[in-house]
Amino acid sequence: MAEVSFQAVGKTYPGSRTEVIKGISARVADGELMVLLGPSGCGKSTLLRMVAGLERISRGTMAINGRIVNDLEPKDRNIAMVFQNYALYPHMSVFDNMAYGLRIARIPRAEIRARVAEAAQILELTPFLKRKPGQLSGGQRQRVAMGRAIVRNPQVFLFDEPLSNLDAKLRTQMRVEIKKLQTRLGVTSLYVTHDQAEAMTLADRIMVINDGVAEQVAPPLEVYRRPASAFVAGFIGTPAMNFLAGRLCGDGRAVELAGGVRLGLPAPVAGGPMAGGTEGAITVGIRPESLRLDNGHGDLAVAVDLTEMLGADSVVHGRLADNGSTLVARLSGIVPARPGDRLRFTIAADALHLFDTTSGRRLDA
């Protein structure tokens, strides 16, 4: 069992000046599953490949179980990786694919057979052991890739978008399987994905990465409830969070949206952009699902542009009557609003997310 730690880890490709990983520090606890989540090109796969030893670490230190691995070859790190395209050896049978690493490790034949048989049983691959990867379906290949990882009893599992080549239904099913398997084996895992639903279901903690920087490292619900930055807030949740320009006022006890709507805050906001002061421009984040329809007393008057009726809920796209900025609301049930209709929404004071407009960081009470 192992713990993985990053200390100001950075990566610059040779011959290039831009840093793709800009000093990430974090600690993955023993047995934890941490999801690296971010948009494509944010550096999450690069970070994972650095853990695997497939990319050199340009600065900082990376340790697995207290041992610094910066200069260790992949084979000396005691890790296993599941690739996006599975990377199964096409000329070998399923059995040989899983046994490959064990044979290299010179493990006795009988034990290899036993370990592969056990893994095959867990993953329901026993009938396919003699087949070649080309004769398997996508989901089966994915399981073989998992099997190849688990037979080796590694200290750390690395998953590089392992489900993105599967169809939607299988993906939902497999992510539950992966979660169960990981919990059962209790192996420290790093899991790269750009799919927030996958991240929310699988993760013990999520590291949200943007442009080579770890924006937030926290359990899924905290990432959702208290996003550390405007980027995280906008990346997690569907439909995406609404961002409105606003101003802190009344000693940090209220925000005033452009256009004059005033919303009270549960507790005064201190610090933030106007150190010492409590007045200044901020960004107000409102989740579409925290808006409530209240045609009598709602603070936010909205002109409807379009309504998406999804059955269980309705997503209303509209514009604020006061300042014309767009607003999306997700309301439960069927809301038969038509383009041009006027609706009023309220929002609970504690459901407002405030961000520093320049740095994007969260402002808190």
């Binding site: 030893g53 497939l54 992949p74 084979k75 000329h91 290299i104």
Partner: protein, 293 residues
């Protein structure tokens, strides 16, 4: 799935095929049938008349120690050429595949020899190894090896093998390089994580995945060594010394055009034809089926 194309005009497919068939008829079927015909005839010394002798030409052929020697020489020559050309090309391709800088430059340079005509390539190597003025012969003398391929049959064979293989390396190199590029990087990475070092990765992952390319090239190279090396042999050794480098095609030429034994030469051509057909069948039937994965 319906794979057949449907033509509305019943003649159209035949018209479309006609050019191909015409070319095959004129340049292959007709000369080949002439050779078969000739192989059962015996020509008089002045080429005025010929008589039917059945399989006598073939009987004489397989009783002729020179012919049997030529078969042996051809086997040694083609295996040596294929082996040398393939291994060298593979080594170069693996290295070029690893190179990050100037990779395009290497590739272009390595392809050049293919543009050199076989006879020219032969002459090039002939100069290098010329016992009197050749730079390589001079260097070999320096390390105590007396090089004279005009006298030593083994050395002559070595020389034509090198000259013939050298020309084929570029071709093999291109195919190997393409084959290597087609192997997904993640497979190599997966093997590295599984604990395999570079040598082991090569033999257990890369080489097996290259096997379709390798088998294709083996057939191509053997066919090349059998037929396309005539120019090289003709320029370098003329089959000598003492028939030490007289491969089958060279013997066909010598017996037919110099010895004017048209019947015997035609019989040899027929044997060669059978060999090529055999190789092609082997490639399509045996190899292409086994290399599936």
């Amino acid at each position: 799935m319906q794979k057949r194309v449907l033509f509305h005009n019943p003649w159209l497919p035949y018209v479309l095929l006609a050019p191909q068939i015409a070319v095959t008829l004129v340049f292959f079927i007709w000369p080949a049938s002439q050779a078969i015909l000739q192989s059962v005839l015996l020509e008089d010394p002045f080429g005025l008349s010929s008589q039917f002798v059945g399989l006598e030409n073939f009987q004489r052929l397989f009783a002729d120690p020179h012919y049997l020697n030529s078969l042996r020489v051809t086997a040694v020559f083609s295996i040596a050429v294929a082996l040398l050309a393939l291994t060298t090309a593979l080594v170069l391709a693996v290295m070029a595949d690893r190179a990050l800088r100037f990779a395009v430059g290497y590739r272009t340079l390595l392809v050049w020899p293919y543009a050199v005509a076989p006879a020219v390539a032969g002459v090039l190597w002939l100069f290098l190894f010329n016992p009197t003025i050749g730079i390589l012969a001079y260097l070999l003398r320096g390390v105590g090896i007396s090089w004279n391929h005009y006298l030593d049959g083994g050395q002559a064979m070595l020389l034509v093998v090198i000259a013939a293989a050298w020309k084929q390396i570029s071709y093999n190199f291109l195919f190997f390089l393409a084959g290597l590029a087609a192997i997904p990087r993640t497979l190599i990475e997966a093997a590295a994580i599984d604990g395999a070092g570079p040598v082991r990765r090569f033999w257990t992952i890369v080489f097996p995945l290259l096997s379709p390319t390798t088998f294709f090239l083996v057939v191509i190279n053997v066919v090349y060594a059998f037929f396309d090396t005539f120019g090289t042999i003709h320029a370098v050794t003329q089959g000598g010394p003492a028939r030490a480098t007289e491969i089958l095609v060279y013997k066909v030429y010598r017996d037919g055009f110099i010895g004017l034994d048209l019947g015997g030469s035609a019989a040899q051509s027929v044997v060669l034809m059978a060999i090529v057909i055999g190789l092609t069948v082997a490639q399509f039937r045996f190899i292409e089926r086994r290399i599936q994965y």
